[in-house]
Amino acid sequence: MSFSDILSVSTSGMRAQADRLRLVSENIANTDTPGYRRKTATFENAVDVGQTTSEVQMGRVKLDQTASKRIYDPAHPLADPTGHYDGSNVDLVVEIADAREAQRSYEANLQMFDQTRQMSAALRELLRR
């Protein structure tokens, strides 16, 4: 039984959640960029030769295809004859909720990491005397 396997599983979880948070930040930063499409990604199993434990990684980044907001501003350089232009399809509420969930999962992974470290430290403590 190798504790380092468990540590790398938890590390992969933390890395995946951090990547997810990065996507959320990019989306929030580009809320007002005309024509911006929201980025999404799902997690998948990271297959590694020789591994007995299943790690996780973020899959390919996809662009959300829901319709962009149509913003009315005739003075805007990109406005079409009706005075509208395409905004982004980012919904701030959804992004904030996603960020919260990413944080919660990150902390859960961190807790697993810490507990594993404590368990292996307790084992070493046993040998010390």
Binding site: M1, S2, F3, D5, I6, V9, S10, S12, G13, A16, Q17, R20, T42, F43, E44, N45, T52, T53, S54, E55, V56, E101, R104, S105, A108, N109, Q111, M112, F113, Q115, T116, Q118, M119, A122, L123, L126, R129
Partner: protein
């Protein structure tokens, strides 16, 4: 007690079992958002431990994947199976509940600490009997 040092066998088996449980819990937590992932659990220690032969399971040890035997030196490992559905299935097919996993993790830590405490107690007893402090 000193003929086969059963207490050491049992407590080290218990610690190994706790480590196997911790692996499964960590995997579940890491895959808490992976679509289609089913949460896994480990058979309890009472189910896997056979007092006669030490850390052994019933013959015909099953595992969901043979790689999950984790290269145990004793050759057998606790049964890892998919957890029964607790109504925590999310729309993307993921059945992991973070709260359940946190509870499992706390229990694993307790089991591991208890096993090490028993082991240490046995060692202290041996040392006292040898006259060393």
């Amino acid at each position: 007690m000193f003929e086969n040092l059963k207490v050491f066998q049992m407590s080290s088996a218990m610690a190994q079992h706790a480590a196997a449980r911790q692996t499964v819990v960590a995997e579940n937590v890491a895959n808490a958002d992976t679509p289609g992932y089913q949460a896994r659990t480990v058979a309890s220690f009472t189910e896997t431990y056979d007092a006669e032969t030490g850390y052994a399971a019933q013959p015909g040890q099953r595992a969901t994947r043979s790689a999950h035997l984790h290269g145990q030196a004793s050759g057998v490992a606790p049964d890892i199976r998919e957890a029964p559905d607790q109504g925590t299935m999310s729309p993307n097919g993921n059945s992991v509940s973070l709260e359940t996993e946190m509870l499992q993790a706390a229990d694993v830590k307790r089991q591991h600490d208890r096993a090490l405490m028993i082991y240490k107690g046995g060692l202290d007893l041996l040392r006292a009997s040898l006259g060393r402090r």
